[in-house]
C-alpha cells in the first residue's frame, strides 16, 4: 500500500505540476528581454513537457507598440509559436530560439490575437524532460 501511495503521488506530481517554480526563470531569463517596454502585469509561465500545446488569447490596444516574447528552458528544445487573429489568419511564426523569440509589432487599432505554443515531442526518450515556458508582452507608446 505504501508503494501504491508513493507511485500515485509521484505520477500526479509529474502530470499536474504545471505550476512548478518558474518565477526565477521568468525574472532572470525572460523579463530582461522586455527592456524598453512596460510589462503587462500578467504571469503566464508553466512547466511544460514534450508534446504539450498551449493557446493564449491576448488583447492589444491600438496606437501602441508591443513586444511579444516566448522563452523556454533549453531542455525542451525549440518551442514553436504562432500568432494569429481570432479568425485563424496567421500573422507571425516564431520559436524560442534567440533569433525568433521576440516579436515586435505596432497595432493600429485594438484587437485580440491568439498565441499558440508547441513543445516539440521527444522521441525515444528514456526520461521525461520538463521545463518552464513563459509568454510575456510589454508595451510602449507609438513614437
Amino acid at each position: 500500500m505504501k508503494i501504491f501511495k508513493y507511485i500515485l503521488a509521484l505520477s500526479l506530481l509529474i502530470s499536474l505540476d504545471g505550476i512548478a517554480q518558474c518565477r526565477p526563470f521568468t525574472k532572470n531569463h525572460c523579463l530582461p528581454l522586455l527592456d524598453g517596454y512596460v510589462q503587462n502585469d500578467n504571469y503566464n509561465s508553466a512547466t511544460l513537457v514534450p508534446g504539450d500545446e498551449a493557446e493564449l488569447l491576448l488583447t492589444f490596444y491600438g496606437g501602441k507598440e508591443y513586444r511579444l516574447l516566448v522563452c523556454a528552458h533549453p531542455i525542451l528544445g525549440v518551442v514553436e509559436y504562432e500568432v494569429s487573429d481570432t479568425n485563424g489568419e496567421l500573422i507571425y511564426k516564431g520559436d524560442s530560439s534567440d533569433a525568433k523569440q521576440k516579436f515586435d509589432f505596432k497595432m493600429t487599432n485594438t484587437q485580440q490575437l491568439i498565441v499558440k505554443l508547441k513543445v516539440p515531442a521527444q522521441k525515444n526518450a528514456v526520461s521525461i524532460h520538463e521545463g518552464c515556458v513563459t509568454v510575456m508582452s510589454g508595451s510602449k507608446e507609438l513614437k
Binding site: 512548478a20 518565477r23 493557446e55 488583447t59 490596444y61 507598440e65 485594438t110 526518450a125
Partner: protein, 300 residues
C-alpha cells in the same frame, strides 16, 4: 484564455504508473491488452492537467495601459480619485483583501505613470501590508520598496518596478496554490482601471473607445472565472462581472479582416477593421455600474 493539449507520452506514462500501482496494491495480474482502467486514468489526468494549465495561462491588459491613456489625454493627477491607502487595515476576509490588493495595484500604476513618487511609495507600502496580512507577501518584498526609493526619479523605472512586482505577485499566487486569489487580484485591478477611465471619459472619444474595448478583457475575465466552477471566494465577483457583461452586451462588435504590413523600419504593423462601439447610454450605464462596484469593494 488557454487551450492545451497535454503530452500523450506523459499521460500514458502517468496512467501506466497508476495502473502499476493498482496491480502492486491489489496483488492481481492484469492481461496484456488495452485496459479501460488505464484509459480512464489517462483521461482523468489529462483533464486535471489541462484545467490546471488553463488557470495559469490567462492575460488581460494591464491597468498601466489605461492609466497611460489618461495621462496622454492631458489630464492631471488627482489623488482624491484613488482608493484611500490608509484603509488598508480595514479590509477583512480573504476575497475582499485580494480585490483590494488589485485595486491598490491599479492605483499604483496610475500614480507611477503620473510621476507621483511619494504616492507610489505610499500605495506600494499599503499593498505590501495587505499582502502580508493575507500571508502572500513573498513577491511584494521590502527590497522592492528600496528599489522604488532608489529609482524614484525615473518614471520608467517606477513603472517597471510596479509592473514587475504585480507580475511576480501573480506568479507567486499561482505557484503557491492561491490561483483563486490571483483571479480576484486581477479582477480588482481591472475594475479599478475601468472606474478611473470612466471618470475621464467626458469629451474624450479615445477614452470612450478604450472603455468600449474593455469588452474584450471582460469576456476574457468571465471565461476565466468559469474555469473555476462555483467557488465561494469567487462567487460575488463573478456575479458582478456577469452583471457588467450584461451592460456591455448592448455594444456593437464588428468583426473585420486583419491587415499586416511593415513600416519604413521593417517593423510589423497590424491593423484590422475590427471595432467595438458603445452608445452614450451604454457608456453611462457602464460608468454607473463601475462606480457602484468600486463603492462596494472600497467602502469600509
Amino acid at each position: 484564455m488557454l487551450k492545451t493539449k497535454a503530452s500523450g507520452f506523459l499521460l500514458t506514462l502517468s496512467a501506466a504508473l497508476i495502473l502499476s500501482a493498482l496491480v502492486i496494491s491489489c496483488g492481481e495480474s492484469q492481461p496484456n491488452t488495452p485496459n479501460p482502467a488505464m484509459n480512464a486514468a489517462k483521461d482523468s489526468i489529462e483533464e486535471a492537467r489541462i484545467k490546471e494549465l488553463q488557470k495559469i495561462f490567462f492575460s488581460i491588459p494591464s491597468p498601466v495601459e489605461m492609466a497611460a491613456l489618461i495621462k496622454e489625454k492631458g489630464y492631471s493627477f488627482d489623488k482624491n480619485v484613488l482608493s484611500p491607502s490608509t484603509n488598508v487595515d480595514k479590509y477583512t476576509g480573504e476575497a475582499r483583501q485580494a480585490i483590494s490588493l488589485g485595486i491598490y495595484g491599479a492605483d499604483l500604476s496610475y500614480a507611477a505613470i503620473f510621476d507621483q513618487k511619494q504616492v507610489t511609495m505610499e500605495y506600494f507600502a499599503s499593498a505590501q501590508k495587505l499582502a502580508k496580512q493575507m500571508g502572500v507577501d513573498g513577491a511584494l518584498t521590502s527590497e522592492l520598496i528600496e528599489r522604488l526609493d532608489q529609482n524614484q526619479e525615473n518614471r520608467d523605472s517606477l513603472l517597471s518596478i510596479v509592473s514587475e512586482a504585480y507580475m511576480d505577485l501573480n506568479g507567486y499566487l499561482k505557484e503557491n496554490q492561491r490561483i483563486e486569489i490571483s483571479a480576484l487580484v486581477v479582477a480588482g485591478g481591472w475594475l479599478e482601471a475601468l472606474y478611473l477611465s470612466t471618470l475621464y471619459s467626458e469629451n474624450s472619444p479615445e477614452m470612450v473607445q478604450r472603455i468600449a474595448e474593455q469588452k474584450y478583457a471582460l469576456n476574457n475575465l468571465v471565461d476565466y472565472y468559469e474555469k473555476f466552477g462555483d467557488r465561494p471566494n469567487l462567487r460575488d465577483m463573478k456575479a458582478d462581472l456577469l452583471a457588467l457583461r450584461e451592460i456591455y452586451n448592448a455594444s456593437s462588435d464588428a468583426k473585420g479582416k486583419t491587415n499586416v504590413t511593415k513600416d519604413e523600419k521593417g517593423t510589423v504593423v497590424i491593423g484590422s477593421t475590427n471595432s467595438v462601439t458603445i452608445s452614450p447610454e451604454t457608456l453611462q450605464k457602464i460608468a454607473t455600474k463601475a462606480q457602484e462596484l468600486r463603492k462596494k469593494y472600497t467602502t469600509v
